[in-house]
Amino acid sequence: MIIGENIHKSFGDLEVLKGVDLHVQPQEVVVLVGVSGSGKSTLLRCFNFLEMINEGSITIDGKKVDPKKDNLTKIRAEVGMVFQHFNLFPHKTVLENVIEAPITVKKMNKEKAKKLGLELLEKVGLSDKADVYPSKLSGGQKQRVAIARSLAMEPKVMLFDEPTSALDPELVGEVLQVMKQLAEEGMTMVVVTHEMKFAKEVADRIIMIDQGTIIESADPENFFGNPQHERTRQFIQLVE
């Protein structure tokens, strides 16, 4: 679904990604872990072309993307992204947040979009909040709206950038629950998270990124039970 090959990304003199190869299969749930500054969020943002790679290539759904020629707007529409700080549109109601892109980008008619929006809000358990503004929601509710907003574009793959890191501990569960449900429905997902319990339960594959390269890639059982790399062992000790 996503093929990243030899991805290099620098910010000025700082090389954040040093040649990363990553193949994400359809319906696969890949969890990216690593200490902060390791490059995992940057990798995720490259997949959505919010950051442009300096070297290498990215193929999405069988199509190799050329950032210079291709319409990135179209590609982004097919790759959903959920942010650490939700980034809901504060001047729009919950339902308006969800149906904004289908109406603006897909030119869906308003009635149809509303129906879709309410279905998605139902799915994340927030249909009763359709007409309130985001400022009235808790962090967990905001993030669930953000997920519904992304799903409204019917993306082929969903990227999650530390979706629970800005939440109070008691609100983490409701967001992970929604993500777990998505995974069970067969959504292709790439998730950057520090929630190891989620990684163990939901991930098909856990990937450890350290200093801009992938140092470990294994299913949860082997990742936690039999880590190959010393840094991975240290990391697991640190988080458990």
Partner: protein, 222 residues
């Protein structure tokens, strides 16, 4: 003390019919100055955030020149400059000068408000597949507009007071009336005290209205 109070009151009672008329002129000047300034400001703010180096350069020159010279000089310059080419009433020459002056400050207000919108908003919008134009129109501008209302309100109040400077080209607003009254009645102190009170009351009224409006905006959103 008591005597002063009496003479001020006497000046006030004698002059208020004229002052009320002149107040209308002051408010008209202020309104046109701010509305025209908003239009000009919006255009130059867009030029400043556009990718084009030439447009940015033009906007920078305009803003630098206007902010770097006194309003009274701009009024005189525009008055003699425009009236040379195109016949126009003093009122409109003054109003346009205020608009041109305000445009530079309001451009900076809008630019700050647009750039002050959380970059995450742009990213979220782009990640949903909205293009640059859609992102600007539907996500960034509405939020920037709301952010710019308090500083625009301040600018309105500054303009209300600045409009006194167009007395120099003979527009019959409240300051010029006080000026004339001071000369004719030989009561300059009382005359200027009265006009100060007019400005103070107007500013207080608009400050209150603006605060009320800002509070109302806050209740629902953000």
């Amino acid at each position: 003390m008591f005597e002063l109070f009496g003479t001020v009151f006497e000046v006030f009672m004698r002059t208020y019919p004229g002052f009320l008329e002149a107040t209308v002129v002051t408010l008209q000047l202020t309104a046109i100055g701010v509305i025209l300034g908003t239009v000009i400001g919006l255009v130059f703010a867009l030029m400043k955030i556009s990718g084009s180096k030439i447009l940015q350069w033009i906007a920078n020159i305009y803003i630098t020149v206007i902010r770097g010279t006194p309003l009274i000089v701009q009024i005189m310059f525009l008055y003699f400059g425009i009236v040379e080419i195109y016949t126009m009433s003093n009122f409109w020459a003054g109003a346009i000068a205020l608009g041109v002056h305000n445009g530079a400050y309001i451009a900076e207000i809008f630019r700050g408000a647009i750039q002050g919108v959380d970059p995450g908003q742009r990213e979220a919008s782009m990640s949903l597949g909205m293009n640059r134009k859609q992102t600007m129109q539907r996500i960034v501008f509405p939020q920037a507009l709301r952010r710019s209302i308090p500083p625009l309100g301040n600018q309105f109040i500054i303009t209300l007071k600045d409009s006194s400077l167009v007395y120099i080209i003979g527009v019959a607003e409240i300051f010029s009336l006080a000026n004339r009254e001071a000369a004719q009645s030989f009561q300059p102190f009382e005359s200027f005290l009265v006009v100060a009170l007019y400005y103070l009351v107007l500013v207080m009224i608009f400050t209150y209205l603006l605060r009320w409006y800002e509070n109302r905006l806050d209740v629902d959103k953000t």
